[in-house]
């Protein structure tokens, strides 16, 4: 049975929490139901701290300073944006390790409006030293990425997607810091992160009808970015389109461009959220379309280069 990425978060906490007695989970008044098994199996290591995200972040850093392994979980904007200074100083400047797991990726909470959106997180977090950023859009990705990175010396932020890309990755193919070549091609590189992998795959399929061979690279680790694989692909195709649920400024697109700008003749296009607030309501798919995150947008950008 397929489970959601968020349910996998709870399941992974339960599994690791029973093996690693230093794992402590703090939540900001969300996720209590799914974390009940963890709370029961790991007494004294589960805390619903309350609605006070800056202090929860500082407390997480304090837990790390006392020798424990903190996992802090709540809705993305309230941790990444409201508590940014606590992340910056109490974790990053102090050189303390820890883990932040966010839900409410980009505009996943589509009907809750701008207060609950967060699509500038990659840009913000990349300004901080000692951060790692993952974007998991399937259960197996979260489980593998967390297991491989939660105990290292960095602060790792796991953005948990509410939607899945529906691509069935094998656990062995998920390697922290390594992008995945999902489709091999020679004419254009399409780099995707998050649920919009499926948009990239759809575009690739449509392009193939016209004889355009797209190469699709999936990125689950935003930082450290697998620039080697991306650069090798762009060196081959000389054309790259990036699709991501992030503001145009500071997201994966910028890093892909930085990794490949000096390849002679390369062409670049970003299918991302315009640098503005997403003010509409509706479904996730409808908001994606309103931001231009569509199969058609990817295809059109490529056809202009033909």
């Amino acid at each position: 049975m397929t489970i959601t990425t968020r349910q996998q978060f709870a399941d992974t906490m339960l599994a690791i929490g029973q093996e690693n007695l230093k794992l402590v989970v703090m939540v900001g008044d969300i996720g209590h139901g799914m974390l009940k098994p963890f709370a029961a199996a790991c007494p004294g290591r589960y805390y619903n701290i309350g609605i006070l995200e800056p202090t929860m972040i500082s407390m997480g850093a304090g837990l790390a300073a006392s020798g424990l392994c903190p996992v802090i979980h709540t809705i993305a904007p309230f941790m990444i944006e409201r508590a940014f200074e606590q992340i910056k100083l109490d974790f990053c400047y102090h050189k303390l390790p820890g883990n932040i797991v966010t839900v409410g990726s980009a505009f996943d909470y589509s009907n809750l409006g701008c207060t609950h959106h967060c699509y500038g997180d990659f840009a913000l977090l990349k300004t901080l030293q000692r951060t790692q950023i993952c974007f998991a859009a399937s259960a197996v990705e979260f489980d593998q990425l967390f297991r491989q990175s939660y105990q290292n010396d960095f602060l790792t932020i796991y953005r948990v997607a509410g939607q899945s890309h529906c691509f069935d990755f094998a656990a062995k193919d998920i390697i922290f810091g390594k992008a995945i070549k999902v489709i091999d091609g020679s004419d254009v590189t399409i780099v995707a992160t998050g649920p919009h992998l499926r948009t990239a795959l759809n575009a690739c399929e449509h392009l193939s009808v016209d004889g355009v061979k797209g190469e699709v690279i999936y990125v689950h680790t935003i930082r450290p970015l697998d620039t080697e694989l991306i650069r090798a692909s762009v060196a081959k195709t000389r054309k790259v389109v990036v699709i991501e649920e992030h503001m145009r400024s500071g997201g994966l697109s910028d890093d892909v461009l930085r990794a490949s700008y000096d390849i002679p003749g390369m062409k670049f296009h970003s299918v991302s959220i315009p640098d503005t607030f997403v003010t509409g309501y509706g479904t996730y798919e409808q908001l994606s379309a309103s931001c231009g995150l569509t199969t058609e947008a990817v295809i059109d950008s490529i056809k202009k280069w033909q």
């Binding site: 850093a61 300073a65 109490d90």
Partner: protein
């Protein structure tokens, strides 16, 4: 180490006050009145209260001390120096390129400093995390954190106060430097009542009176599962030097030669 026999009333640590002024003169920067406000408290803590090993600052059984009002760090530096955490050279290099001592304490540079503070409103929340971590691990270390009263304008202070009480962090003792900085902007400032309202055990003492401070600390049981304690320490900003006492231009002022002589005479 001083003995209890030495402790009676206001001792005014003149040698350390002189050292602070000398550091400010040499470094051409620093907050003298903020440091003088808390110097007697920190000196007492390091001399008679805290368990530590200066040769092994990360000793697992140490008591933790966080100076949340980081701009008072000169009071911490002179005590870290007195107890062997830092050297004469470190003191001489205050606010100089290549030194480890700046105008706010830095955990990544200074042995014995548990938190890099300066941005107000972080220290108590960080301390609550450490206290919770110690409790989870059933460790008996004590957690002390010194806050400014102006710093208590920050909302995070009260977020943390709320959590600490509700998580029964009896291993935590906050000390508030109640020098009335906060009242300049917000005159309704009954500091003890605020902490009482959050359910903490509250004692109010003269922060320049070592006996009162020590008696208050001895009243705290530091139970790992108990009520957190706060000592509201009534202090005087710039304590000991009439020229700089109170709130005004001296907050971040470097003495000129004449003023330096006046200060030193007052401390002689």
């Amino acid at each position: 180490m001083n003995t209890m026999a030495n402790i009676s009333g206001n001792t005014l640590n003149k040698d350390l006050r002189k050292k602070i002024v000398d550091m400010v003169m040499a470094g051409e920067d620093g907050h003298i009145p903020s440091a003088y406000s808390i110097l007697d408290i920190i000196t007492l803590l390091y001399r008679d209260v805290l368990n530590f090993d200066a040769k092994n600052p990360e000793w697992k059984d140490r008591d933790y001390f966080i100076l949340s009002k980081g701009h008072g760090c000169l009071a911490l530096y002179v005590n870290l120096h007195r107890h062997g955490f830092i050297t004469d050279c470190d003191i001489d290099m205050f606010c100089k390129q290549g030194g480890i001592l700046g105008e706010h304490p830095d955990r990544t540079k200074v042995p014995g400093v548990e938190a890099s503070t300066g941005s107000l409103g972080h220290g108590l929340s960080f301390a609550v995390g450490i206290a919770l971590g110690l409790k989870i691990q059933a460790q008996k270390n004590r957690m002390f954190v010194l806050l400014g009263d102006g710093e208590c304008h920050e909302g995070t202070v009260w977020e943390a106060a709320n959590v600490a009480r509700n998580r029964n962090l009896g291993n935590l003792c906050a000390i508030v430097d109640w020098n009335q900085s906060a009242m300049q902007l917000m005159p309704y400032d009954d500091m003890p009542k605020k902490w009482e309202a959050f359910g903490w055990d509250v004692q109010t003492v003269d922060g320049h009176n070592e006996k009162e401070m020590l008696d208050a600390i001895h009243q705290i049981r530091f139970k790992i599962d108990g009520i957190p304690s706060v000592i509201v320490a009534k202090t005087i900003k710039g304590k000991g030097i009439p020229l700089i006492e109170g709130h005004g231009i001296w907050h971040h002022r470097i003495p000129n030669t004449q003023e330096y002589q006046q200060i030193m005479e007052a401390l002689s």
